[in-house]
Amino acid sequence: MFEFIYNILDFSIDLFIKDIKFENYILTALTGIIIAFAIINGVLGGVLALIWGERRLLGRFQQRTGPNRWGPQGILTSTADAIKVMFKEDIVPEEADKYIFNVAPLLLVIPVFIIFSVIPFGISLYAVDINVSVLFILAVTSISGLSIICAAWASANRIAIFSALRSVAMLISYEIPVGLSLVGILLICESMSVMDIVIYQKIPFILIQPVAAMVFFLGSLAEINRTPFDLTEAESELAAGYQNDYSGMKWGLFYLGEFAAAIAAATVFSTLFLGGPNGPILPGIFWLTVKVIAVLFVIIWIRASWPRFRIDQVLNLAWKGLFELTLVNIIVTSIAVIIWTDGEANRLIYIGLANWIFAFPFVFLIFKMLKTKNYDSDNKKLIRYPVGSETPKFHKEKN
């Protein structure tokens, strides 16, 4: 994509502005700006659509209509909200550390956009191809935790600090299973580049690495603070969590960052596990969009159906459940990779079968974390309090 746009720019400048000679680096910068502009605006548009789509879908799940006032089917609702947020008063608490208070929302938003730079939107449609882009994604996503703790600390609010500490605890816990869950894929592809992984995915990796896909999905739900791991802004406990004291566009940036993170997580998941832009006939960007929408639908569906975990259960799930699962997954996959080396026919199918048979049963292990024995009301006969066991000494005589 980069070279394509660079060449077009070069050509058009040659064509129209012949007098001025442009240095290469200016052209490079211009190209970068154009690509960044396109991606950021694409994501922003996606965020607006997602906010609308989530509200409509949640409404339908709850047998309501959802927002339908502004524009056809209410699609302009989130745009109207965005405009409103921009014009709202910006309140900074007096006790706040003003510099950090202002920087924190930016810290949340920027890394999310950076992730999209390494995502291939088509087979050859990408901004940059770093050879360690999987590592890059994992590294960049952890910056959001810094932003949350900055925001909470700067706003000098106790509830916000609660939220930030929860967020950090969750981020630290879930970084590990999320990172380890990708090891299986890296073993199979023998590359850390997202491009290579996409090209290697003749069969979507969700079928070959079911356990890794599940762990990655749950982990990314936790990292983007979605139900059932939305403890950071559990509105029934912490009101709005770390963004309690934010208002106006700063709050808007947090909101934007969260929804962009949801899109980013869905994109990364569909790139790594659902084959990304791979698909028949139609262009890759279409298939990627379809897959991202499908993943987002599942995320919203889960939000509509499930309550949230408690903090100790969340951490237990990460350390006692998902972490072990990833280890099992790595062991099974590495043995399978050694047995069926690269180049062998139907290699992916064999590895997948091995994973389904040996690794997937361990999924039920994580439900040991939840007290899932059936609720027993069978000891009903047990008299816990002797109601009416004695007779009073005298009764009121009834006429």
Binding site: L57, T65, Q73
Partner: protein, 225 residues
């Protein structure tokens, strides 16, 4: 259970994704082409001939249709219906009001004083801004002069405008609710479609003729004696 409870929950919400909406859009609802045609009782084609722009808006799902919420006939609305010619200014309603928001000022009529005639009403104010619409005043009214109203779209910017005075009560559209007025329910009266402007229809007591009064008096004497 092993996580199957969670999946069961997902299935419940998924099934409800396709079930009809139970909420009501108010004050207007957005409809598509067919919804618009249905609300106007015309075919889509006729509507298109009439106003193509409207159909275009409806195709985007942006056509507005006014919604009138169907309430029960007993609904205690945000207003009162009062028939001045039924009212004898006995002020029962004012006495029975828990909040004391009905203000009545009367003077004796100069014309029919000898015949025990009516009081003339100078002032009949109901402060609906403080009213809780319990309807005890309506229950207290012995001559069915005061009724609960059914309209509830009575928003105002000023508290003083919420006070219903005598002139407003006389001149307004009269859609009395059948709350504590069983005579309305017998006639299958629906306050949402019809109104009762004639005060004679609103009361349950017909004015008795002389013979009946005499008979009643005799009966009462007999019973007590």
């Amino acid at each position: 259970m092993l996580g199957f409870g969670l999946i069961k929950g997902l299935s419940v919400t998924f099934r409800n994704l396709f079930s009809p909406v139970f909420t009501i859009q108010y004050p207007d609802k957005r409809v598509g082409v067919f919804g618009l045609a249905k609300s106007k009782n015309k075919s889509v084609l006729a509507l298109f001939k009439e106003n193509p722009k409207q159909i275009l808006i409806a195709a985007l799902g942006m056509a507005k249709v006014k919604v009138k919420i169907e309430q029960s006939p007993r609904f205690r609305g945000n207003e009162f219906v009062w028939y001045d010619d039924r009212c004898t200014a006995c002020a029962s309603c004012a006495k029975y009001c828990p909040l004391g928001i009905i203000e009545i000022v009367t003077h004796a009529s100069e014309e029919n004083l000898q015949a025990g005639g009516n009081y003339e009403i100078d002032k009949f104010d109901i402060d609906t801004g403080r009213c809780m619409f319990c309807g005890l005043c309506v229950e207290a009214c012995p001559y069915d002069a005061l009724h609960m109203g059914t309209d509830f779209e009575k928003g105002n910017y000023l508290r003083s405008e919420l006070v219903l005075d005598k002139e407003t009560l006389i001149s307004q559209v009269k859609n009395p609710s059948s709350w504590f007025r069983p005579q309305f329910e017998e006639n299958e009266y629906d306050p949402w479609t019809s109104e009762v402007s004639d005060s004679k229809e609103a009361g349950r007591h017909e004015k008795p003729n002389d013979e009946k009064i005499k008979q009643d008096w005799v009966n009462k004497r007999k019973f007590n004696g």
